[in-house]
Symmetry: C2
Subunit: 352 residues, 2 copies
DNA sequence: CGACACTTCTTTATCGTTAAAGTAGTGTAG
DNA sequence: CTACACTACTTTAACGATAAAGAAGTGTCG
């Protein structure tokens, strides 16, 4: 059932039927009624969205690209908050939110065609590695795009916190408390799934910008305090699950017996605390642990986790606003780093 | 930059360029390479998704309709789990997930055009009131559609639990413990925002199927035990927030002093417990409270909440499978109610 | 050598809509 | 009574792609 069919039935031009739906002021109220009646009878439910999009050259949809299979996003409290912020803006602007499917193929690579085939007016790219082909495909479309957290690409609007400064701040907190023996627990530096100690070259070449910057922040703080960076063990986990934090602790403690652990995420930090507690170390008396993100569980943990707070919903909000104003052709707000703050709870104290 | 432009440049027909992208076996490897090179040079990044959708008469996108503004969904643990299940299926099937925007207008009504204008191959309707115009618009499109939780519409595939049986089961648990003085805390019966005691006629006319069925289940159990239903106070809250549960408790306790409270959601139940505890009633010694949903907080609550467990992710999974198989034209699995089970924790015990 | 398959590319027609420009007819002001 | 605006519609021409069917050339087999 098409516009044209209704037009024929009513005895008017297709354009008039189109106008009945889109510009009521262009025809008489009476004819408009008649058109709707006929449409109802013939089971026509308004202009086809695809035909309309083709002709108007816009879809009124924003695509979201996520660094992992989509379903993981709904397991990740930060991603969910982000989506909440983003969706409140897009909804307000009457834009749909298309979660672009990009399951990993057999090779572990994600099909970049997902981005080429998405019928959208713009993209929000969330926390993606610098080298994803998916990202390249999305940027290739030359649609308005906003990148969140990573990667930072020349000329592409960006939303995120100042990861380096925030990491520096948390390391300084521990330095002020008097710590000197540090260990660091990082999530992935590159998407190659490696696990274990990462040496400085690998740290500097990390393809995840966020990991790279946080390590730089820690390094700057520790070096400013006169410590030797290459003696600080950096354990790289292939993800950010609590279990991985435990494994990292298991690898780090026997050899290094740090008095302070800097974790790149709260999940990792909580894993470290779990392992420590189970192995007779008390936190923070024997060892201080600091996280990053301030997830809800951080408050209720035992002890409550000292961490860097960042507002994920605000990121979504800002990303949404930036994209919407770009879609409208306005300049719009641009990339100021969002604020973070150190939340001191119970997992840090002076060294024993 | 279009297919035709590339075709012209390479000196072949548009169809051949289309085939280069979609059916590599239809042309020589060498020509295909040449086409891609030219495309690269001219900045063409593959067939336009909208044009392609129009011609193929499919979008490879599934639309999701939610009973509230979209951004609320990301605050609702059940909805998030549901989306996780759903997205894992759609992603596997290489389908996008379009979150359809339907902010409430000035009148509180949601614009039904959101559903008419969504470029999708099918819909998943999540937890929507029977009378939403948005729902009507979606069903009007005659696309494959699966409804979750509510409403139950003739001929539309449905996924959900047996709410009546589950409610009955939880009431029976309290009856077995020996309770006789009950009160019920419900979320909305209709979307009119009313708050306060709801009499039986209002209960029976509830436009939210889930509310209606759960009340029926409670009623059946209590009446079977010889209690008089119309003496059981049913307090209707206009939503499901914890704060509303507190308000309900405040309204119910002074007058009725129940020994057992049946709440239609865990959030409401937790609100009731909070109020009771603060007002010198201990749970479960003075009053037993039972919830519905088994949200994560239920375990950690003080006392841990007895509740009806339902698997939200499984709902999403099943809804996704049903829709996908329908999109493929297969019959596919259909509507068996999903299992629930009573999880007895610390918030229920025999009456004082 | 003719029939038939196979590969590689082309032709034609259409998917459903709307921007832009145009045409009557009707009123209204100078 | 002419010019000009205004209302209510129509005409034309895309938007960008692909299904289906066809054609030209090459090889193969009895």
């Amino acid at each position: 059932m098409t516009l044209a069919r209704i037009a024929e039935e009513v005895g008017v031009s297709a354009m008039t039927v189109s106008n009945a739906y889109n510009r009521p002021d262009q025809l008489s109220e009476e004819l408009r009624e008649r058109i709707f009646e006929t449409a109802e009878q013939l089971g026509y439910h308004g202009p086809d969205p695809v035909g309309r999009s083709l002709r108007r050259q816009r879809t009124d949809v924003v695509g979201v690209l996520y660094s992992n299979p989509l379903s993981y996003a709904f397991d990740d409290a930060a991603a969910v908050s982000f989506l909440r912020g983003l969706s409140s803006v897009t909804e307000e602007a009457d834009l749909g939110l298309l979660l672009v499917p990009a399951a990993r193929g057999v090779s572990g690579e994600r099909d970049p065609r997902a981005a080429s085939q998405a019928a959208v007016d713009g993209f929000v790219v969330y926390s993606m590695s610098d080298e994803e082909p998916l990202l390249k495909a999305a940027l290739g479309r030359r649609l308005p795009t906003v990148v969140v957290d990573q990667p930072l690409k020349e000329g592409v609007p960006f939303v995120g916190v100042d990861d380096e400064a925030a990491a520096r701040m948390s390391a300084e907190h521990l330095l002020h408390l008097g710590h000197e023996r540090f260990a660091i627990v990082s999530f992935a530096l590159s998407p190659d799934g490696r696990e274990g100690l990462a040496d400085p070259p690998r740290q500097e070449q990390a393809s995840f910008r966020v990991s790279r910057l946080r390590l730089q922040g820690y390094r700057a703080a520790l070096e400013d305090a006169g410590l030797v960076w290459c003696k600080v063990p950096v354990y790289e986990c292939p993800g950010s699950a609590r279990e991985l934090g435990r494994r990292a602790a298991e690898a780090l403690f026997p050899e290094n017996s740090p008095t302070a652990v800097l974790a790149l995420s709260d999940q990792l930090a909580l894993g470290v605390i779990e392992w420590a507690t189970e192995h007779g170390l008390s936190v923070p008396e024997d060892v201080s642990v600091i996280g990053f993100d301030d997830i809800p569980e951080a408050t209720g943990a035992e002890p409550p986790l000292t961490t860097v707070h960042q507002d994920h919903a605000a990121k979504g909000l800002l990303a949404g606003q930036m994209l919407v104003s770009r879609l409208r052709g306005e300049g719009g707000p641009s990339a100021e780093p969002l604020a973070t703050r150190l939340v001191v709870r119970g997992s840090t104290s002076p060294p024993p």
